[in-house]
């Protein structure tokens, strides 16, 4: 009985896979069960999980992760153009090339830490973004974006004599066309694999070393570990996650544009991770689902749907509420997002996951589930707190802060 807790990887994976694969069913009452949005959930989920391995574990805030997303997209589309419309080579090559760039950028940027690291990644991201628009136009097709065309050679497809149909070909996995629900399930399976790798990293000695980097690098050096190789590995892994997400974007919609690499796009993944709770396994996914879901709902609203929503109020109040709230929906969705994000950073630095932990603790206290005997041993509640699945962000900052004050 005791053995079957959330510490068991396979149990976690079983629950997680069930939840992800049945998403079309349980999301339908929320009106979010159409494939486009589901694909977005899965793709940005992969992106955020990867970002979390870097930022959540090591505390290095990269403001240039969208670069790898863009590189993954471009590589995948080129793969579709040159080799085959089968998605497997596309995502493998996209991930690997993003990893290669992560190696180069990471090797240079990781020589510095703190805000300098953020600025260095930002500088690299802006460099790639500007280059994609100007000099690299033969590769990126500039502002139009890289698209498929009928003249593409597709050597491997031609070799195997895949029938050429009129019109633009669509991406497929051995014949199964990757759009709609099949596309979602493909992304979802990759998300599950990605989550499993991230779970393994979180619960491995390697993950512990990454946490050590976050809490105190000096102490880590004294214990005989050089932080640099671990950091670089984490950076490359998270870059490859971003590349995978980027190539999946190309799989679901074979078009790659440079706006994917803009630094505000990197900001978005930071938002998602923080909102959900960085440094926790599930937090980033919560953040992704929340942001993408509400983006979808809120940006579709307009004053008339709002007045319908406030119908239960007296007419005067209804007008007041509509005139206030209409600035926060539709075009103003980003305002809501920014304000929400500020509130989270100010009051709940651990994101939604910290909120969940706090509520959980409060309910347990209220219900008297914490009996005095275990309290003295500080067992159940404390133990839950240090469990990697729900670890709050707050505790690790103490040491570094003390040093900064000096």
């Amino acid at each position: 009985m005791k053995k079957l807790t959330l510490k068991n990887n396979w149990l976690v994976m079983l629950i997680f896979s069930t939840v992800v694969l049945t998403a079309p069913i349980w999301l339908s009452p929320l009106g979010a069960n159409y494939p486009d949005l589901l694909q977005k959930f899965a793709i940005f989920g992969i992106f955020a999980i990867g970002f979390n391995i870097l930022f959540g574990l090591t505390g290095y805030l990269s403001f240039g992760h969208a670069t790898f997303l863009g590189i993954g997209s471009y590589s995948a589309v080129w793969c579709f153009k040159l080799f085959s419309m089968n998605v497997l080579p596309g995502i493998i090559i996209g991930t690997l090339i993003a990893g290669l760039f992560a190696l180069i950028i990471g090797y240079v940027s990781l020589r510095r830490s703190g805000i300098y690291f953020s600025i260095l990644t930002l500088a690299f991201a802006q460099m790639f973004y500007s280059l994609a628009y100007s000099v690299l136009t033969p590769i990126t097709n500039g502002e139009t974006g890289l698209q498929l065309s009928n003249e593409d050679p597709r050597y491997i497809d031609a070799l195997f004599g895949v029938a050429v149909e009129p019109g633009l070909p669509s991406t497929n996995l051995f014949g199964q066309i990757m759009s709609g629900y099949p596309g979602f399930y493909f992304c979802a399976i990759l998300l599950i694999i990605g989550f499993y790798i991230s779970l393994k990293i979180f619960r491995s000695p390697f993950g512990l070393k990454l946490r050590a980097i976050k809490s105190n690098q000096t102490r880590m050096r004294y214990t005989g570990f050089n932080p640099r190789p671990y950091l670089l590995t984490a950076f490359i892994i998270s870059g490859m996650y971003a590349g995978l997400a980027g190539s999946l974007m190309a799989v679901t919609d074979p078009l790659a544009g440079a706006e994917r690499m803009q630094w505000t796009a990197s900001g978005e993944v930071v938002l998602m991770t923080i909102l959900g709770g960085s440094g926790t396994l599930l937090g980033p996914l919560f953040g992704v689902v929340m942001i993408k879901y509400f983006e979808n709902i809120f940006s579709a609203m307009n004053p008339s749907t709002l007045s319908e929503f406030f119908n239960f109020l007296p007419e005067f109040l209804q007008q007041v509420m509509v005139s206030i709230t209409q600035h926060f929906v539709g075009q103003g969705w980003h305002l809501t997002l920014g304000a929400l994000f500020m509130l989270v950073v100010i009051f709940l630095p651990g994101g939604v996951m910290e909120g969940v932990t706090l509520v959980n603790k409060y309910i347990r206290l209220k219900l008297g589930l914490v009996n005095t005997a275990s309290k003295t041993k500080q067992d159940p509640v404390r133990k839950n707190l240090v469990d990697p699945i729900a670890q709050p962000l707050t505790e690790q900052t103490n040491d570094s802060q003390k040093e900064e004050v000096k």
Binding site: Y116, I119, V345
Partner: protein
């Protein structure tokens, strides 16, 4: 020679804008220790102060257009013109210079309000959290501006008398063909005055002395019985004013739109880091140096050798400087080191 001088002027001009923004950013960082990602948004707010002043001055009434006789035509005529005739027209023409007078108190209030309401609570938090909360603030500010002014750039012309170009060449006894827009020259002069003003303020006043002391060792200044926090609030206000003035004066050069702050933010951060976090002189020097480097890199001679160099040269320089001189050009020891 002409080409060289033009590029130098271009660079100084761009550098003036970079230096002004970086100056405010460094003030906030060096004294308060706050990494302010919302500084670009303050620049944008300043530019929109100019837009607002112009809109207020041109509040119009529909009047009959007398020049068209064969049907009833109406045109918009600003109230100022109706009341004061030519004087009113002149006032509208000078909307941007007038807006500077409004920018100062408005931005001071915004800055002090932000510091008291939000930034104050982040002194003790990590730099990453400061970046995040000010990033959120920047999004909120720019979306508020979009809600009021829309997404299109708002043209705010400079006064007529300086809208043309100055014959710089003949003034200096060089070729006649060397001309440069008046307003850009004015911007350069304005930037220098503001920069000297801020430096003089910090160097020659008691208040400035306290602030400099606080930058060096905050704790000791506090122990001497000086309310450092209050001084720092005013410094943040000052930083906001510098950013706001830079923005308002920039409005005739680049019609302001809601995301201009974000565009400038990245560049100004690069400038600050190259100059050295917390060093005012470094920020100004780096601003001008990077501006000049960028404008020379956009010469066709360089572009022929390295295509696209003009787009990335600033970031390239930043990467090299950060790796070779980790503290930046003039970074102080002990400020924000790893």
């Amino acid at each position: 020679m002409d080409v060289f001088l033009i590029q130098l002027l271009n660079g100084l001009d761009k550098g003036g804008a970079y230096a002004l923004i970086a100056l405010g950013l460094t003030l906030a960082f060096g004294t308060l220790g706050i990494v302010n990602f919302a500084h670009g948004a303050l620049f944008m707010l300043g530019a929109f102060c100019a837009v607002t002043v112009q809109e207020i001055l041109t509040i119009s009434k529909k009047v009959k257009d007398e020049s068209i006789t064969f049907f009833d035509a109406y045109k918009e005529q600003p109230y100022l013109e109706i009341w004061w005739g030519d004087t009113g027209t002149a006032i509208i023409d000078y909307a941007v210079p007038i807006s500077i007078i409004f920018v100062i108190p408005v931005m001071l209030l915004i800055g002090i309000g932000l510091e008291r309401g939000l930034i104050k609570h982040f002194y003790k938090r990590t730099h990453a959290e400061q970046i995040l909360v000010t990033f959120g603030l920047a999004i909120v500010l720019q979306e508020i501006i979009r809600a009021f002014f829309g997404a299109n750039p708002m043209p705010t012309p400079a006064p007529d008398i300086v809208s043309g170009t100055a014959a710089v060449g003949s003034l200096l006894g060089l070729s006649e063909t060397l001309v440069y827009p008046w307003w850009r020259l004015i911007y350069l002069g304005f930037a220098s005055i503001v920069i000297f003003g801020v430096f003089a303020f910090l160097k020659f006043t008691t208040f400035g002395m306290v602030v400099r002391a606080g930058m060096a060792d905050r704790e000791t200044v506090g122990l001497l019985g000086i309310d450092v926090e209050r001084k720092f609030t005013i410094v943040f206000g000052l930083a906001a004013v510098v950013a706001g003035m830079a923005g308002a004066m920039y409005a005739p050069i680049l019609p302001p739109d809601y995301h201009m702050g974000m565009d400038f933010l990245v560049l100004s951060f690069v400038v600050v880091v190259v100059g050295g976090m917390g060093s005012l002189g470094g920020a100004v020097t780096a601003g001008f140096v990077l501006g000049i480097i960028q404008s020379f890199a956009s010469m066709t001679e360089f572009k022929a050798i390295f295509p696209g160099i003009d787009q990335i040269v600033i970031y390239l320089v930043a990467v090299i400087v950060l790796l070779v001189r980790p503290r930046g050009l003039m970074g102080r020891e002990g400020v924000m080191e790893d």
